[in-house]
């Protein structure tokens, strides 16, 4: 599905992302871990087009998308969430999701149609909200949601776009322990069907271990290891660089 | 050759004037995050206060030390005005950026109208030392002393502002406060004082520009500030919001460009070139020459 070849992003002399090669198979769930500042978010920005790489390519389904702007990549099925929640604060929760549905289905450039009249969009949005358990907050302004709720809303936005490759940047950050299993379920349910692949950065190791088929470890911008959870966890370098002392 | 030296030096004089106006604007704009449309009013207040002092204040006059006293009085008046504006009008609206801009728009309308109501719409002769009317011959070019005065003042103001921001604690507070006032407060610092200070500095710079600009023009009129403001805005934006050094570069670029194009091209082309320069700079480098956060 998604592949990167020699992906590199430098600022001055420093390589923030250093010749990263990732292959994501259809339906695969790849966890990305790494110390803070390893370049995980930056890698996501390169893949989604928010940053231009200094070198290297990104391909999606064999097609080189390195030159495309973010919205074109999204239309090809690349969806993502942000490390710091980003939702449309002055719209209601429901409008947020409807916007995402509408963006996905096309027909956003209709100046003279009543948006509210599109029942299909509304229904799809409600389904997405239901799936993340935010249906009861539909009329709240998204800007007033608590952090955890915003995370869920972001996932709903992602769901609405029915992407084939999803990039999740620390979806569990700031989510209360109670809600973690629920979110894990939601994320799992996204991936099971129709061969959707996921790339997820997460520091909650148990979540990674629960979901990921393979784990990629980043360190100083480079890929330290990319293998099954068992192998990665046993890797002494990984333990030293990332996991650290037992608490 | 003469012409080029003359144009360069007078262009630098013009640049100095733009910089004096833009420096205060840039500080307040970049640091307090207020697009201050009332800056032209501060300019007017400084100019009129100097004018008034020269005629009425004991010890002040049009020449020598008296003139220095008059200018000092004008700068003090501009500073006071800016501080009052910050305390009364801007501070209660803190974090409502758009409203702050709007208040300054309202203030510029009302304030200039007030100047006009008080002293009339017409230009009045501005008291100034005789030597500012003379010229100095530099390499065969007759350079107006008023312009040289502006250049010296601009260099001093630039140095003073940079030193303040870089080496004082208040400078640090101001730079941090621009990003996140709340967090500065949460570190135990009364950020409001810092912003009042920014306005005070902005007001002082504006008033100085008003006074020296009037020396240069020979007159003072209510609209003077407003007409300089648009070029000052352009300078601030080309230079990069909040970057005083950027403003200095931009002022020199704008001043020289205007001067040379007006001489070698057709009239009015100078202004259009400046505007074009702005558009080009912004399209190539939207953050301006010196970028947003870089202060020095």
């Amino acid at each position: 599905m998604l592949a990167t070849r020699g992906l590199t992003w430098r600022i001055g002399e420093v390589a923030i992302v250093d010749s990263v090669e990732i292959d994501l198979a259809p339906g695969e769930f790849l966890g990305v871990i790494g110390p803070n500042g390893a370049g995980k978010t930056s890698l996501f920005n390169l893949i989604t087009g928010l940053r231009r790489p200094t070198e290297g390519q990104v391909t999606l389904d064999g097609r080189d998308i390195s030159a495309l702007p973010p919205h074109r990549r999204a239309r090809l099925g690349l969806g993502r969430t942000f490390q710091a929640s980003s939702v449309f604060g002055s719209l209601t929760v429901r409008e947020n999701v409807r916007l995402a549905v509408q963006a996905h289905r096309g027909g956003s450039m209709k100046l003279w149609r009543r948006a509210a009249a599109d029942r299909e969009v509304a229904a799809a949005a409600d389904t997405a909200l239901d799936r993340v358990g935010l249906a009861h907050r539909g009329t709240a302004l998204a800007g007033t949601l608590a952090h955890g709720e915003k995370r869920k809303l972001e996932i709903a936005l992602l769901l609405a776009g029915e992407p084939t490759v999803m990039l999740l940047d620390e979806p569990m950050a700031g989510v209360s322990a109670e809600d973690v299993p629920e979110l894990v379920q939601v994320i799992r349910s996204l991936t099971g069907d129709n061969g959707r692949s996921v790339l997820m950065v997460e520091h909650h190791m148990d979540v990674i271990l629960e979901l990921a088929d393979r784990i990629a470890v980043m360190h100083h911008g480079a890929l330290l290891a990319c293998d099954t959870p068992e192998t990665v966890m046993a890797n002494p370098t990984v333990q030293e660089a990332y996991l650290g002392e037992e608490l | 050759m003469d012409a080029i030296i003359l144009l360069t030096l007078t262009g630098l004089g013009l640049a100095a004037l733009y910089f004096l106006v833009a420096s205060g604007l840039s500080l307040v704009f970049g640091l307090a995050d207020v697009l201050n449309f009332a800056h032209g009013l501060f300019l007017g207040v400084g100019a009129y206060a100097t004018w008034w002092a020269a005629g009425n204040l004991p010890g002040a006059g049009a020449d020598g030390l008296g003139f220095v006293v008059a200018v000092a009085f004008g700068v003090a008046a501009g500073t006071l005005m800016a501080v009052l504006v910050e305390l009364v009008l801007i501070r209660p609206l803190y974090s409502r950026t758009i409203e702050q801009v709007l208040v300054t728009v309202g203030l510029s309308l009302a304030g200039v109208a007030l100047l006009q109501a008080t002293w009339g719409a017409d230009a009045r002769p501005f008291p100034r030392p005789e030597w500012t009317r003379q010229v100095t011959t530099i390499l065969g070019a007759q350079v107006p002393n008023g312009g040289l005065l502006l250049i010296i003042a601009a260099v001093l103001v630039l140095a003073a502002i940079l030193a303040f921001l870089q080496w004082t604690r208040y400078g640090l507070i101001i730079r941090a406060g621009v990003e996140n006032r709340e967090m500065v407060t949460a570190l135990g610092i009364d950020v409001r004082k810092a912003f009042t200070l920014v306005f005070a500095i902005g007001g002082a710079a504006a008033a100085l520009a008003g006074a020296l600009g009037s020396v240069y023009f020979g007159t003072v009129s209510p609209q003077q500030g407003g007409s300089l403001l648009i070029f000052a805005f352009i300078v601030v934006v080309i230079g990069g919001m909040g970057s005083v050094v950027g403003s200095a570069y931009a002022a020199v670029a704008v001043g020289l460009l205007q001067q040379f194009v007006n001489y070698y091209g057709t009239s009015g082309l100078g202004d259009i070139c400046v505007v074009a320069l702005l558009a080009v700079v912004l399209l190539l480098r939207p953050q301006g020459i010196a970028g947003k956060a870089a202060i020095a």
Binding site: G174, E178, M205, L243 | T185
Partner: protein, 253 residues
Amino acid sequence: MSQPVLTVDDLSVRIAGLHILQGVSFTVAPTGVTVLLGRNGVGKTTTLRAVVGLTPRNGEVDGTVRMGEQSLLDRPTHRLVRGGLGYVPEDRCVFAGLTVAENLRLAERRGSTPAYDRVFALFPELDRRSRQRAGSLSGGQQQMLAIGRVLLNDNRLLLVDEPTKGLAPKVVTEVAEVLERVAESVPVLLVEQNLAVVRRLARDAVVLAAGKVAWAGDAQELLSETALTRSLLGVGSAEAHDATPAAARKDGH
């Protein structure tokens, strides 16, 4: 027990018409870590911000908050902080345009010597990166800076909001250690989602639910009673969702 360092009594906060805190009362003991728990959106951050005087403009605060004898609510934030109330906000809030050194310099307070050794001993990274702009630090590095900034001064009470959010397990451990050591000398009111960290640090716990205090008491007691944790925190088994390296290790070996 000795006098509490912070007394929150019947604290009520409304923001934009929403009644978020509805009469919250608790105390913070003069030593050790008191942890504030509760689900997302229950109002933990709101509580801390109300204490330190940072409720947004469209909010109203009622009730009393006292530090010792002093009432806090009607005093401006900067006074409170100068009076020894340190605050580490939820989303770090480092000054992106300033260098690390400048961020730290800003936190120095008049009349006291800044404890740079303490900070650099804990976070040598900050010393190494002192000339880097804080905005280009990674999330974890920024969090270190945010905590380091507060530790520069001696405080009477620290308010810390989710310090381990988004940190790598290794750093989580480090931060927990730091807080543990800090708590030896200064009382800390901590908001934390990571139950492993809570278990390690907390002496007292206050659980918020539906805008009120649902439970308050000994933290270890709360965590050891599976029934209690389940009903209050909604966690099936206290272990299950700890984001601890320990949990990870189990699979690793």
